[in-house]
Amino acid sequence: MAELSTWESLPIAGAVRPSGAPRTKTGGWRTGEKPAVDVSLCVNCLLCWLYCPDSAVTLSGETFTGFDLEYCKGCGICADVCPVAAIEMVPE
């Protein structure tokens, strides 16, 4: 285990930089449903990307590509905000 910092060597207010933070996968918290998309319907409005509380909607540049299921919690917000019903919540 890494040695823990003293109070004097900690960054002010304990601010964390990405380099130092473990990238814990949190997709395992999903409770039974995951989003599935019919890309042929998608009009690339990016509302799902904007609303996803876990930044789990993936883009390539500015183009919708899908979901990062290692972080998605299955909340269904993306499916709810999609204006063309391209996203459907499906069982795991």
Partner: protein
């Protein structure tokens, strides 16, 4: 050129804010703070400051927005009183722990209940241990001076904490006095640009601010915060010395008034010091060796300087404008700790709750050692 104006304490703070011209002021109105933000909003409307005021829905939101603004890289100020501070209290602790250098004017007002709008210091004492700097003004001039000094203390790399400028509700916020303003450009130079050394919200250097701290780090982060508040004592004196060069007025952690050869002293915070000074002058005319120690800085508490200033006194009376039911009132407890081991006689008095006046004859009684523990309370008898 001196610019002396007839201003209330609230207006004086608003003029300091105009000269500082902070980037963001998220605020919610509450008596007796309202004249501060009302005057400041008018100054902005008149084009004399360029601050963005954020009209929030509560004081809880005001402090939350202030943290965001301050850490995103904007100089941020706000103001509140009493119940507003009580509602804000949760977030005041968070502002201190996130080391957000927010400057806040506090128009001191009694906490409910019963509901009351007048001055005491129960609101300040509610957040005594939140980790913020608390500086108490004696007058409108003091409130102006401390407000100009406050960003320098808050933003100092050794401090990075919220600084509260406390001014007694109505007695200072609403009473007009001649106030000497510094030239606008001198204040702008004195406060300088807002440069935050701790990480700001920056998309090119992303950080997590205010992270969860488990038992392995919480204690360390609290200690770091306490060290910053302790460091504020030196920073306050440095800023006070620099401010004195500009203004020829010195407002440091404490003010010793006719204390050098005093055998009896009163220790007090805020506007009451003015009343005590008048009584000290009268007693001096009567050849009584009376003096006053006015505390400006309640947090950090200048224990060593207090002990040194009171060294020659035989008896000291400490005046608390807040009670601690079932315990020792806050200032009394601090004084007892600061003077522990000294053989001077320390008496504690609670006075002025909910705006009850303290009159010069009361102060004389206190100096004579003849006052009851609750000064000015009907039915109270002196124990001796």
């Amino acid at each position: 050129m001196t610019d002396v104006r007839l201003l209330t304490g609230g207006e004086a703070v608003a003029h300091a804010m105009r000269q500082i011209d902070p980037d963001v002021v998220p605020v919610y109105p509450i008596t007796p703070q309202t004249p501060i933000i009302q005057t400041f909003a008018k100054l902005i409307a008149d084009g004399e400051a360029s601050t963005e005021i954020v009209n929030v829905e509560s004081e809880h939101s005001a402090m939350s927005a202030a943290i965001g603004a301050a850490l995103a890289g904007g100089r941020t100020m706000t103001a509140t009183s009493s119940q507003g501070l009580a509602l804000m209290a949760e977030v005041v602790y968070i502002a201190a722990s996130m080391r957000a250098p927010i400057v806040m004017a506090l128009g001191n007002r009694a906490l409910s209940g019963p509901i009351n709008i007048h001055c005491d210091h129960s609101d300040s004492m509610l957040i005594r241990d939140s980790g913020v700097v608390q500086l108490f003004a004696e007058s409108a001039q003091d409130a102006y001076d401390l407000t100009v000094m406050a960003p320098r203390i808050a933003e100092d790399a050794r401090v990075l904490l919220p600084v509260l400028v406390c001014l007694d509700g109505f007695t200072i916020t609403h009473s007009a006095e001649p106030v000497s303003l510094l030239p606008d450009d001198e204040v702008a130079r004195f406060v300088g640009p807002y440069r935050l050394r701790n990480a700001v919200l920056d998309t090119t250097r992303p950080t997590t601010q205010g992270p969860f701290a488990m038992p392995d780090y919480y204690f360390e982060l609290r200690r770091q915060q306490a060290a910053a508040l302790e460091a504020a004592l030196d920073v306050l004196e440095e800023v006070a010395a620099e401010f004195e060069l500009l203004s020829r007025r010195r407002v440091g952690a404490l003010e010793a008034y006719r204390l050098e050869d005093a055998t009896r002293a009163i220790v007090a915070l805020g506007s009451t010091a003015g009343t005590v000074k008048d009584v000290v002058d009268e007693l001096r005319d009567e050849h009584e060796a009376a003096g006053l120690l006015r505390l400006v800085s309640f947090r950090p508490f200048p224990s060593a300087a207090i002990a040194a200033a009171l060294e020659g006194c035989a008896s000291v009376a400490v005046l608390d404008r807040a009670d601690s039911p079932g315990g020792t009132p806050p200032l009394h407890a601090e004084l007892a700790a600061a003077l522990y081991g000294s053989d001077l006689e320390l008496a504690g008095h609670v006075y002025g709750l909910g705006g009850r006046e303290l009159h010069p004859p009361d102060v004389r009684e206190i100096f004579r050692g003849a006052a009851a523990p609750y000064v000015g309370l009907r039915g109270e008898r002196c124990p001796v």
